[in-house]
């Protein structure tokens, strides 16, 4: 193959016992964890203001007024951090026909019946859905968030616009938290995944089992 379509810069296979595969560069991992930390802090501070029974979470941020003041700034950090992730990952997350086949066999996915699934590149359809839904939700959250950022933008929008924005913000945040739960759960459920974001490496067996097309291209590219 002249050009590989599934391999990102930095991906590499190391022969040995076992075979290991580089999946994420140091830069990508730092970028990911800044985004992850921001998202967790945003969820905690946002939920504190979302439901009265969770208002106690403001204690983690030094009280109600501090929570209100900090939350939007963390949002700004997350937005720019996510742009970094987007630039890194968007190309390999483009939707392909095999992704529909993969999704059609969701039962085999959930029962870990990998042999019935089409061979997957660097990302499977589920990962791509997480990527694109987060991309859309974060755009919704930053735009609606600015409209309701009372301290700096209070005067620039009509009250009706602010009412709509606060509703969009709440709905998008709920969706983003649900997507985040799916993302975290998948990483835990599929054993051997988390090392991709800690050390940057996965085992050859993991790549063979879950991202065979990616592994094949990596090997043939050598």
């Amino acid at each position: 193959m002249a050009t590989s379509t599934e391999v990102a810069r930095g991906d590499a296979v190391h022969r040995g016992e076992p075979v290991t595969v580089d999946r994420y560069t140091t830069g990508a991992r730092i970028n990911h964890w800044i985004t992850a930390a921001s998202l967790v802090l945003l969820a905690l501070s946002g939920l504190a203001l979302f439901h009265p029974s969770l208002f106690w979470l403001t204690g983690l941020f030094g009280g109600g007024p501090n929570t209100r003041a900090i939350h939007p700034w963390i949002g700004v950090v997350l937005f720019f951090s996510f742009i970094g992730l987007f630039i890194r990952f968007w190309k390999l997350n483009l939707w392909e026909r095999t992704d529909n086949v993969w999704l059609g066999k969701i039962r085999d996915v959930l029962t870990s019946n990998e042999e019935n699934l089409p061979e997957v590149g660097k990302y499977n359809a589920g990962q791509k859905m997480v990527f694109w839904s987060m991309s859309i939700l974060i755009i919704l959250l930053i735009t609606s968030g600015i409209v309701i950022w009372e301290q700096y933008f209070g005067g620039y929008f009509s009250i009706e616009q602010r009412r709509l924005a606060v509703l969009v913000h709440a709905l998008a945040a709920v969706a983003a938290i649900c997507v985040w739960i799916v993302h975290v759960y998948a990483a835990i459920w599929v054993r051997g995944t988390i090392s991709a974001m800690t050390s940057g490496r996965v085992t050859g067996g993991w790549a063979w089992r879950h991202h065979r097309k990616w592994l094949r291209e990596l090997v043939s590219g050598k």
Binding site: P52, E150, Q151, R163, C178, W189, G204, W206
Partner: protein, 310 residues
């Protein structure tokens, strides 16, 4: 003339209502005070207002507020809008009555209406930052306010203002501190024409009836009371010469109600949102219990090795 509320006695007296008399408290579940105290109300008779702004001054004075010196843009409204320091504002409208051909100067004293169903309180996420006493007064509790501006979105009358100085929300308190010791609000005390009167809600409605009859006898056939049912009535009411057209009075809402967007946000979204998050996490947990972990097998590792060494 409406009977004047006597001056206070010099001796300190206990407040007639406080923390124990709450019927609503933002972001909290409380047992409403029962029985409720007598409902109070302020009645603003627009037809008797001469636009002297004594009420504005009295409000600043009593509440120890200072407004910035503004600029004149050719209208009487001063300042141009409610601010964190201006809790009440005379709004002047020049209205040419097509029926009589007269120019009418409609002067409405704007400020918090103290809704029986307060949108600000419904929207507020901070426990106890907005409270409603059992006599109907809706009050902001500064110590609990976090400055998020949700009350601004909840209010159907566009009243609360967020201070740029301390990031807290401000609005008319109906002088709850004065009412607690048997006085009327400062604006009422200062009004030279009794365009503002204060008493129980029933007394105010009765007095309004008297005023409306008088206005009707003078040719204002649509004179009436503004006590909008969309927010279950208010504890600040207007007597309007043209009660069929509240909007004439500097944009007073014709049929105020809490925005459906706010109701949806604070109703359905709040509960469905939590449910969705718990359900997603629950699904993950259940899936892991039923399906178990997805582990890489020794076979997978061997296949990878074979592929890599080809």
């Amino acid at each position: 003339m409406y009977p004047v509320i006597p001056n206070p006695i010099a001796k300190p007296i206990d407040a007639k209502f406080g923390e124990k008399d709450l019927v609503k408290r933002s972001a909290s579940s409380i047992t409403p005070a029962s029985p409720r105290q007598t409902q109070v109300a302020k009645l603003i008779d627009v037809s008797k207002c001469i636009g002297c702004k004594a009420c504005q001054v009295a409000c600043l004075e009593w509440n120890n507020l200072t407004e910035e010196v503004g600029v004149n843009v050719g209208v009487y409204d001063n300042p141009h809008d409610l601010t964190p320091n201006t809790w009440t504002l005379m709004r002047y409208t020049e209205y040419e009555n097509p029926e009589s051909g007269n120019l009418e100067w409609l002067i409405r004293k704007d400020g918090c209406m103290h809704c029986e169903d307060p949108g600000c309180l419904k929207a507020c996420p901070a426990p106890g930052a907005i409270v409603q006493y059992s006599n109907g007064i809706v009050d902001f509790v500064k110590a609990n306010c976090i400055g998020c501006g949700y009350c601004v979105k909840g209010c159907p009358f566009n009243i609360p203002r967020i201070s740029k100085v301390d990031n807290k929300a401000y609005k008319c308190s109906l002088c709850s501190d004065r009412v607690a010791v048997g006085q009327g609000p400062a604006c009422q005390k200062a009004c030279p024409t009794q365009a503002i009167v204060f008493g129980t809600k029933d007394e105010m409605k009765k007095w309004a009836d008297f005023r409306i009859k008088d206005l009707k006898s003078r040719g204002f056939k649509n004179a009436g009371l503004y006590d909008p049912p969309g927010v279950q009535g208010t504890h600040v009411m207007y007597v309007l010469q043209h009660a069929d057209k509240p909007n004439l009075y500097a944009g007073l809402a014709d049929n105020p109600r809490i925005s459906p967007l706010v109701e949806f946000w604070k109703g359905f979204t709040k509960y469905a949102g939590l449910t969705a998050m718990i359900a997603t996490a629950g699904f993950g947990l259940l899936h892991h219990v039923v399906a178990g972990a997805n582990r890489v097998t020794e076979h997978d590792e061997q296949e990878a090795k074979k592929l890599a060494e080809k």
